[in-house]
C-alpha cells in the first residue's frame, strides 16, 4: 500500500533527524536544520502535524494548501491574513434570544471553525489562556457584556500577531480587564481612610502575563543564586510601585472618575483622571524609580516599558506558547531559540509576535518531533480542540449558520474566556504523579482530565459523532450542528481505505496497529452493509481514543 510505505519513509527520516541534532540551529530558529540534515520531506502527514499545531483542526483541502505553499509559505500567508474579528459576529448574526451574554462563545465557535486566519485565531486562543479574563468575573450583562468579551478577544487576536509591548498595553487599558483585575477606578492613596492602591492588576500582570515569579535564563530554566535558591523577580515594594502607577483610570465615556452609568464604554480603552492618579515616586523592576509628578499616561508607558524589557518576558511567554501549540516539554534549546527571536527578530525589534510564532512552528523540534533525550515530545490536546478538530474535519455546521453551543465548560471543563480564575483552567506546571513527576515532565492539559470530567467529554464527543451526523439526524433543527460523513460513508465499503483516510486526517498517520485493528474489527460487526453506521462508529472510536487526545 502506498500510504504504508510512506510511513516507513517518514520513520526512516526521523532516525536521521535524531542524529542531526535538533538543538543546533540556535540563530534563526528556522529550518533547514544545520549539519547537512536535509529538510523534512513535505508529506501529507507532515502537513497534518503542522495543521494540528497551528489551526483548530485539519480539513482535507488544508493539507493540499500546505503542500502547495510549503511549510514556510503556508505560515507566512497565515501570518499576513487580515484578522477575522469576533466583534463583527454581532453584525453578521441577528441575535434574537434573550440569553445574549454568552453569545461571545458562539462568536468564538464561528471564527475558530470557519475563519481563514486559523493561525491567528489559534494564537489568540493560546493567549486567552495566558492573559486571562473569566466571563464569571466580568460585570457586563446582556449583549454589551457579550460584545465586550468578544472585543477583549479581538485585542488578543489583533495584537497577538503584533508586538507584545502593544499587546500588554492594549490589555492593560481594556475596560473588561480593568473590571476583571480591578485596575479600573483604582485610585491614589487616602491615608485618612486607610486606602492604598489596589495591587491586583500589578501583581497578575507581572506574575502571569509577562515575567513570572522567579528569574529565568534565556532557555526558560530557573536561575539560582550562589546558595542554590531561586531569585524572585519582584517583591512587595515593586508590587506597590506598580499599584500606584495603575491609579486614575476608568471607562472612557465617564465625565467624572467616580461616575457609573449603564452605558459605560466596555469596548474602548480606559481613560485617566489625573486628580485620582498618584503622583509620587514609584519603585519598579530592577531598581528603576519613576520620578514624581508624572501624568497617568507617562507613568503607564514607562512602567510597561520597564516590564516589557525585563529579560524574563522572552523565555516566559515563548515557552508557554510552545506548550500551547506544539509540545508540553520543549527542550531548553528550543525555548532559547524562540526566546532569542522574541528578544530580537533579526531586525533589532523586541516582541515581534509574528517572528516568535514563526520561530515556534518552523523550529526543527516542532517539525521533526525530536527533542532532547530527557524529554518526550508532544502534548495532550486541550479538550475543546478535539471538538473543533471534529467539526473542521467533517464540516460541522448548522442550517442557520450559527454555532450555538455556549455551555462548553460543563462538558469540556474549558470554554473560551470562561476560566474560573485568572490562573486559567490548568497550570503550565501541572504534572500527574507517576512517570511525569518522576521525570520532571509536565502535562498541563491533564489537570482537567480527571475521574470527574472524562466521561462528560467522551459522552459529548460520542454524541457529536454518532447522533449528530447527516445520516443519524436526517430531520435536524435549524441550530443542530451536524457533521457531514458522506465522504466517509462512501469509503466504508473498503474499510482499509477508510482507515487510511482517517489516519491521515485525524492522526497525521500516527495511528497505532491496535487502534487500526480495533476499528476494523468493530466495523466488521456491522456485517456487509451498514456503511453509514460503519463510518460514524469508526470516526467515533478514533475521536474518543487515547491516541486522538494526544498531539505528537
Amino acid at each position: 500500500m502506498q500510504i504504508k510505505s510512506l510511513i516507513v519513509g517518514v520513520a526512516t527520516f526521523l532516525l536521521v533527524a535524531c542524529g542531526g541534532g535538533s538543538d543546533s540551529d540556535t540563530d534563526s530558529g528556522a529550518p533547514p536544520p544545520t549539519g547537512g540534515t536535509p529538510p523534512p520531506p513535505l508529506t501529507k502527514a507532515a502537513a497534518v502535524t503542522l495543521l494540528e499545531q497551528a489551526t483548530f483542526g485539519t480539513r482535507l483541502n488544508d493539507i493540499d494548501d500546505v503542500l502547495n505553499r510549503g511549510i514556510e509559505g503556508w505560515i507566512d500567508r497565515q501570518l499576513n491574513l487580515s484578522p477575522s474579528p469576533h466583534l463583527r459576529y454581532y453584525y453578521i448574526v441577528t441575535i434574537a434570544d434573550n440569553d445574549t451574554w454568552s453569545q461571545h462563545v458562539n462568536a468564538w465557535w464561528m471564527r475558530s471553525i470557519r475563519a481563514e486566519d486559523q493561525l491567528r485565531q489559534r494564537v489568540a486562543f493560546a493567549l486567552s489562556q495566558i492573559l486571562v479574563i473569566g466571563q464569571s468575573g466580568v460585570n457586563g450583562n446582556g449583549i454589551n457584556g457579550a460584545k465586550s468579551i468578544s472585543n477583549y478577544y479581538d485585542v488578543l487576536l489583533i495584537n497577538g500577531l503584533g508586538n507584545y509591548r502593544d499587546l500588554i498595553e492594549a490589555v492593560t487599558l481594556n475596560p473588561v480587564m480593568g473590571e476583571y483585575l480591578s485596575m479600573l477606578r483604582n485610585e491614589k492613596p487616602n491615608p485618612d481612610k486607610n486606602i492604598r492602591p489596589d495591587e491586583n492588576y500589578a501583581r497578575e500582570l507581572m506574575q502571569l502575563f509577562t515575567i513570572g515569579l522567579v528569574e529565568l535564563n534565556l532557555d526558560g530554566t530557573v536561575k539560582t543564586d550562589a546558595q542554590g535558591n531561586t531569585i524572585p523577580t519582584y517583591g512587595q515594594a515593586e508590587i506597590e510601585g506598580f499599584a500606584h502607577v495603575f491609579t486614575g483610570w476608568t471607562w472612557s465615556n465617564m465625565d467624572r472618575f467616580k461616575e457609573w452609568r449603564e452605558d459605560r464604554d466596555l469596548l474602548g480603552p480606559m481613560k485617566a483622571f489625573p486628580d485620582f492618579h498618584d503622583t509620587g515616586e514609584k519603585t519598579l523592576l530592577n531598581g528603576v524609580v519613576l520620578p514624581a509628578g508624572q501624568t497617568p499616561e507617562q507613568d503607564l508607558e514607562q512602567a510597561l516599558d520597564n516590564i516589557f524589557n525585563h529579560p524574563n518576558v522572552g523565555p516566559f511567554i515563548s515557552k508557554q506558547l510552545i506548550q500551547k501549540l506544539v509540545t508540553s516539554n520543549p527542550s531548553n534549546a528550543y525555548v532559547q531559540r524562540v526566546a532569542t527571536i522574541f528578544n530580537n527578530n533579526g531586525n533589532g525589534i523586541r516582541g515581534d509576535m509574528k517572528a516568535v510564532v514563526k520561530a515556534i512552528l518552523m523550529d526543527n523540534e516542532a517539525r521533526t518531533g525530536t527533542t532532547s533525550s530527557d524529554r518526550v515530545f508532544g502534548k495532550v490536546k486541550e479538550p475543546l480542540l478535539r471538538l473543533t478538530a471534529l467539526w473542521r474535519a467533517f464540516d460541522g455546521k448548522a442550517a442557520n449558520g450559527i454555532y450555538d453551543f455556549r455551555w462548553v465548560n460543563n462538558d469540556f471543563s474549558q470554554g473560551p474566556l470562561q476560566s474560573p480564575s485568572v490562573f486559567n483552567f490548568f497550570s503550565p506546571f501541572y504534572a500527574p504523579q507517576g512517570q511525569f513527576k518522576d521525570n520532571d515532565w509536565v502535562a498541563p492539559e491533564l489537570q482537567i482530565h480527571s475521574e470527574g470530567t472524562m466521561a462528560k467529554m467522551t459522552n459529548h464527543l460520542h454524541w457529536r459523532v454518532l447522533s449528530m451526523n447527516n445520516f443519524a439526524n436526517d430531520n435536524p433543527d435549524a441550530d443542530d450542528i451536524l457533521i457531514n460523513i458522506t465522504r466517509e460513508r462512501d469509503l466504508a465499503s473498503d474499510p482499509e481505505a477508510l482507515l487510511d483516510h482517517l489516519d491521515l486526517l485525524l492522526l497525521a498517520e500516527k495511528m497505532s496497529p491496535e487502534l487500526r485493528q480495533a476499528t476494523l474489527d468493530f466495523m466488521a460487526t456491522y456485517g456487509e452493509e451498514n456503511f453509514e453506521e460503519k463510518a460514524a462508529d469508526a470516526i467515533g472510536l478514533i475521536i474518543t481514543s487515547p491516541e486522538f487526545a494526544v498531539q505528537q
Binding site: 483585575l181 480591578s182 477606578r185 483604582n186 481612610k193 486607610n194 486606602i195 492604598r196 489596589d198 495591587e199 491586583n200 501583581r203 506574575q207 515569579l213 524572585p232 512587595q236 518526550v376 508532544g378 502534548k379 495532550v380 474560573p420 480564575s421 490562573f423 497550570s427 500527574p432 504523579q433 507517576g434 512517570q435 511525569f436 513527576k437 502535562a443 491533564l446 489537570q447 482530565h449 480527571s450 475521574e451 470527574g452 472524562m454 466521561a455 462528560k456 467522551t458 459522552n459 460520542h462 454524541w463 454518532l466 491496535e514 487502534l515 480495533a518 476499528t519 474489527d521 468493530f522 460487526t525 462508529d537 472510536l541 474518543t544 487515547p546 491516541e547 487526545a549 494526544v550 505528537q552
Partner: protein
C-alpha cells in the same frame, strides 16, 4: 502498621491499588469482607482566593471594636450587626460572627464549631521584630495566590510536591478495602491529596456520569464497548497517551462499580440550602461517599472540597456577605447531613484559605495578606471556643507586618492541622512525615479535639 517503613508502604500501596481494580478490569471494587467497626473522615474545605477572615470573626468589646473599625473604615461591619458568640473560655475581649453567619452562630453555641484564630503559612515562629531582619525565614512568595495555596496544601515550605492530605492517605490506604477511594477531591484535582505512592481521585459534585454510548447494560452498545475498552487495555509507550488512557479506564471502572451505589442512594432528608449553593452540593457528594462507606469497606477517608470567589479586590461589601452566607448555610447543611447519616462524631471538617486580606482597603476591596481565621466543625471538635491568639488589628500595631494591615500569623498551618491528625489516629512518627516542619513550632500548643 507502625512497623512498616516507607518502602513497604510503596509495595502495599501499589498492590492495594491493583487489587482495587485499577489495573484489572475483572476484579470487583466492592468489598467482600465484614464492615469495619470504626470510621473516620476528614474534610478540608478550601476557600480559594483568600477569605477575609477578619470580617468573619469580629471583635465586639469597646476597645477592640474601635480598633477594628478604625482599621477597616468603610469595610467594617456595623457593631450592632455582629452576631455575638460566647466562647467557653471566657474573659478577655468579646467576639462575634459576620451577620451572614447565623447558622454558624448556632453551631458554635451548640459546641460543634470552633474558631482557630490568626493561622497562616509560616516556616518558624516570627514576630514583627524578628521579621525586620531580612534573614528571618518566611514563606516564599508571600501574597501570591498559587504559591501560598501550594504551601498550605503541601504542608511544607520546601515544596516536596506531595500534599499533607496525600501523605496522610499513604498511611491509611491499607485500612481500606478500596485504596483508590481513600482520598477524593470534589470538583477538581487538589495538590493537597497528591502522594508519591497512591492515587487520589477527583469527581464532580453531581457524582458519576455514565459513559452513555458504551454502557455495559445495553445490548446495542456492546460491540462499541468492546472496541472502546480494548483501546484502554492497549500498552501505550507514549506517556501522554498512557496517562490519558489510564485515567479514562479508571474513570470508567469507578463509574461502573461505585456510580450505581451513589446514584441509587435515596435522597437525603436534610434539605439543601434554598439558594443555589455549590459548596453545599459538593459537600452533599462527600455525604454520598460516606453513606456507602460500609459497602466499599472504607474506614479512613480524606476529602477535599473547594469554593472560589474570595479574591475580593473589588466590591467587597457586596461580595463577601454573599460568600459568607453560602459558607454558613453549606457547612450547617453538611453537619446536619452527618447527623442524618449517624456519623457526626466520625467526620471532622476544617477550613483553609491561602491567606487573609489586608485590613486596609483599596477603596472598595482588599488585597492579599497573611494571617487569617479558620473554622473546625464536627461532633468531636471541642466547639464553642476560640483557639490560638487573637492579633491586634491596629494599623502599624504589633502584629501588622508592613504597617498596612497584613497580619502576621500567630499559629502555623502545621499547628492547626496537628490535632486533626491525632484524632485521625496518625502516629507521631507518621505525623513527622506528614508535617515535616511541625517541630519548628510548639506542636501541642493547640488542641481543639475532644
Amino acid at each position: 502498621m507502625s512497623k512498616l517503613n516507607r518502602r513497604d508502604f510503596f509495595k502495599l500501596g501499589a498492590g492495594t491499588i491493583a487489587s482495587a481494580g485499577l489495573m484489572n478490569w475483572s476484579q470487583p471494587l466492592i468489598a467482600a469482607g465484614a464492615p469495619p467497626t470504626d470510621y473516620k473522615a476528614i474534610v478540608n474545605i478550601f476557600f480559594l482566593g483568600g477569605n477575609d477572615g477578619f470580617n468573619m470573626v469580629i471583635p465586639r468589646s469597646d476597645f477592640e471594636y474601635n480598633e477594628y473599625s478604625a482599621s477597616r473604615q468603610n469595610l467594617a461591619v456595623a457593631r450592632g450587626d455582629i452576631l455575638p458568640i460566647n466562647p467557653i473560655t471566657a474573659g478577655g475581649p468579646q467576639f462575634g460572627f459576620h451577620p451572614a453567619f447565623s447558622e454558624m452562630q448556632q453551631l458554635f453555641s451548640d459546641g460543634k464549631l470552633g474558631v482557630m484564630a490568626n493561622v497562616g503559612n509560616l516556616i518558624q515562629p516570627v514576630t514583627k521584630g524578628s521579621l525586620e531582619n531580612p534573614a528571618t525565614p518566611r514563606p516564599r512568595q508571600l501574597f501570591s495566590h498559587n504559591d501560598q495555596q501550594d504551601q498550605w496544601r503541601y504542608g511544607d515550605p520546601d515544596t516536596t510536591k506531595t500534599g499533607w492530605g496525600g501523605r496522610l492517605m499513604d498511611y491509611k490506604v491499607m485500612d481500606n478495602t478500596n485504596a483508590l477511594l481513600t482520598a477524593m477531591s470534589i470538583g477538581g484535582r487538589s495538590k493537597w491529596l497528591v502522594s508519591d505512592q497512591n492515587l487520589d481521585i477527583s469527581i464532580g459534585s453531581n457524582g458519576f456520569d455514565r459513559y452513555n454510548y458504551v454502557r455495559p447494560d445495553r445490548n446495542w452498545t456492546q460491540d462499541r464497548r468492546t472496541a472502546f475498552r480494548s483501546l484502554l487495555d492497549t500498552n501505550y509507550s507514549n506517556p501522554f497517551t498512557k496517562e490519558f488512557s489510564d485515567t479514562q479506564k479508571r474513570t470508567m471502572e469507578l463509574i461502573e462499580q461505585v456510580g450505581d451505589l451513589t446514584n441509587n442512594l435515596a435522597d437525603f432528608t436534610t434539605p439543601l440550602p434554598q439558594d443555589r449553593n455549590r459548596l453545599a452540593e459538593s459537600l452533599r457528594m462527600v455525604g454520598r461517599m460516606i453513606a456507602i462507606r460500609e459497602q466499599l469497606g472504607m474506614t479512613r477517608q480524606v476529602f477535599y472540597v473547594a469554593m472560589g470567589g474570595f479574591d475580593t479586590h473589588d466590591d467587597q461589601n457586596t461580595r463577601q456577605p454573599a460568600l459568607l452566607g453560602q459558607i454558613s448555610q453549606a457547612m450547617k447543611y453538611f453537619y446536619d447531613l452527618t447527623v442524618e447519616l449517624g456519623v457526626e462524631n466520625s467526620v471532622t471538617s476544617f477550613t483553609s484559605s491561602e491567606f487573609g486580606r489586608t485590613l486596609t482597603s483599596n477603596g472598595d476591596g482588599t488585597d492579599h495578606a497573611w494571617g487569617n481565621h479558620q473554622l473546625m466543625m464536627g461532633g468531636m471538635v471541642r466547639g464553642g471556643d476560640i483557639y490560638g491568639t487573637m492579633p491586634s488589628l491596629e494599623i502599624g500595631g504589633p502584629d501588622d507586618y508592613r504597617n498596612d494591615g497584613r497580619i502576621i500569623p500567630t499559629t502555623s498551618v502545621e499547628q492547626f492541622s496537628k490535632p486533626i491528625l491525632d484524632w485521625f489516629d496518625a502516629e507521631p512518627a507518621q505525623i513527622s512525615t506528614i508535617l515535616p516542619n511541625l517541630n519548628a513550632f510548639n506542636a501541642n500548643a493547640i488542641n481543639y479535639m475532644l
